[in-house]
Amino acid sequence: MARIRLENISKSFGQHTAVEDLDIDVADGEFFVLLGPTGAGKTTTLRMIAGLEKPTTGRVHINEADVSAWGPAERDVALVLQQYSLYPRLTVRDNLSFPLRSRVRNMSEADIEKRLDYASKTLRITHLLDRKTDRLSGGEMQRVSIGRAIVREPQVFLMDEPLSALDAKLREALRSELKDLQMRLGATFIFVTHDQVEAMTMGDRIAVMNKGRIAQVGRPQDVYSNPRNTFVAGFVGSPAINLLPGRIVGNGAVMAPSFQLPLAGPAASEGAYTFGIRPEDVSVESGAPVEARVHDIENHGIEKIVTMRVGEHLLRAAIPARTTVALEDQIRFSWNPNKVMLFDATTGVNLRHQAA
């Protein structure tokens, strides 16, 4: 299949810079996720790979070819969008065969039929083939648009938030289906999403983007446990990480004037930092050193997320679902000193990454 390499890509629209100095190397057969908030430049990046936008500077390589000057038709990539991805007025069958009937491909009817058959069986949409697209449900529509990508047997699948418009249940189902499909096809997928759960569950690697730049690239687990900066830390993970401004004094973290807790690992010099601790690394128990009040409780079924109030700080902790707590209860908590992340108070960069 294909390897995608973006080299020093920038894209501006007039005064506005959408993407800046982007370097991405996607391996053959990889499920690569571009994750970031709205306006981070994910879609622009995807469109530049598809050839729908030309980069202002930099080059796009597919395999070893420099395709920067190629049009979308020549690049042999397939694109699945969140909406409007199917041609209206056409049946599912016509939608699926539409890319194959392009003059570029010049395929015989028998070949078209064969590919149609394979794609519709793979996605279990055979019964929909003669339906008009406006008679499909959201999930069926997205299946068909994925099918339209599959029939092409492209070098790369590009997906722009294909699941975002679906309801939660369906999204979950299609998520695993899509991942499964990618493994079966062994194809290179580049998947754009703002949903960190999608990124974590599907991606072989994730590129977290912010304001047109790459904040961090890595395997989901690495990005989660070792975020490069406070942005990545805050964006990846649900419930979100606790980020607390404070100081290191001696061997402990001091959140003046509320509380202080011990730190482990290589000692950092004294001074101001942002402390990051994931909710699951905060433990609530009767003998713990810090006292807090329950500010809010979210019952997730599998666990409870309590937001605790300590002085002016709010801190989330994940506790077992069986634990009974009520609003304004007094509870005590501690944290796992090994899991505390230290971020530079001004730049927000993780100290571990700063050293490297």
Binding site: A73, L79, Y84, P99, R105
Partner: protein, 319 residues
């Protein structure tokens, strides 16, 4: 629609229906008037008070398609007996049909003028709508430098009453030999309509998600193929609405047709009033010409009515 059950709601409904009825009557009354006049005997057409009950006759239509002269003396009975029924109708009205040297009835220029109208209106509509559609697509999809200024400039051609330029147009057309030609009027009407078509179609084009074409581009089609295969079918509603408006404008245009044409390329609007009659004002002939003249627009609009209704409310594309 929700069922209106409250007393005040029902009353409001009735008032609304009544208002709609009154408006409908007001709008339809000229059509009723001109249609009935076209079938009235000449005396009843101008009677005061107007006659509502009359015996319909098709004499005005016979007169419309023929050339006539006043009878100076009563027609000889044997000639009257030999005349076909439709000629008798004219003779009964005190006129005789003009005949050429071979004794054949001379037809009026109405059919020719009518066909001129059709040729000119249809051609200019096709030109204006296709140019408008392509231009609107360009404005809608590409970053055009000075887009707002250009669009304003296009619209500015409609900011003065067209008749203001009639004299210069006449002089220019005479200089280049476009006076009294089909091409001349087609160019003129296309120019009138194209700015309107650009603006109207721009609205419709903006409504069509560009994702459709982008999908086609990625799927291996050229921009042109994507335009014809994907965009045009989606824009059908807008094209229909724009075409109806352009057609009506070109079909009904009177002032320029009157000034710039007189025989070969004359359209029906300036021709119809010229038939007002020899010796007396025969409104029934005018009415007959007008009624026939209404038919193509009615047919055209009727054929496109579904598109038109959706097109008027814009947002014709389902999101």
């Amino acid at each position: 629609m929700a069922v209106v059950s409250s007393r005040s709601g029902r009353l409001g409904n009735r008032i609304a229906i009544a208002v709609v009825l009154v408006i409908t009557v007001i709008f339809l009354s000229p059509i009723y008037w001109i249609t009935t006049t076209a079938f009235k005997p000449l005396v009843q057409a101008t009677s005061v008070p107007p006659s509502v009950l009359f015996e319909p006759q098709i004499t005005p239509f016979v007169k419309l398609f023929t050339k006539r002269a006043q009878l100076t003396a009563p027609v000889a009975p044997e000639i009257y007996e030999a005349a076909p029924w439709w000629e008798k109708l004219v003779l009964d009205g005190g006129e005789r049909l003009a005949r050429d040297g071979n004794g054949e009835v001379v037809f009026s220029a109405y059919p020719d003028r009518f066909i001129n109208s059709l040729i000119i209106a249809i051609t200019s509509t096709i030109l204006a709508v296709s140019m408008g559609t392509i231009t609107a697509y360009g404005f809608s999809r590409f970053r055009v430098k000075g887009e707002a200024d250009l669009l304003f400039f296009i619209l500015s051609t409609r900011m003065l009453p067209p008749i203001v330029v009639a004299i210069p147009m006449f002089l220019m057309y005479r200089a280049v030999g476009l006076n009294d030609t089909h091409v001349g009027l087609i160019i003129l009407y296309t120019a009138f309509n194209v700015s309107f078509a650009v603006w109207l179609m721009k609205g419709f084009m903006d409504e069509i998600p560009k994702e459709y074409e982008e999908a086609a581009l990625v799927d291996g089609y050229t921009r042109m193929q994507a335009f014809f295969k994907i965009v045009l079918p989606e824009a059908a509603t807008g094209i229909a609405a724009t075409a109806v408006f352009c057609f009506i404008t070109a079909w009904n245009e009177y002032a320029f047709a009157l000034i710039l044409t007189n025989r070969r390329a004359q359209t029906a609007p300036p021709f119809i009033p010229s038939q007002i009659g020899t010796g007396l004002q025969d409104w029934t002939v005018i009415a007959a010409g007008t009624v026939l003249f209404l038919i193509p627009v009615a047919i055209f609009t009727f054929l496109l009515r579904n598109h038109l209704l959706r097109g008027m409310s814009f947002g014709a594309i389902r999101k």
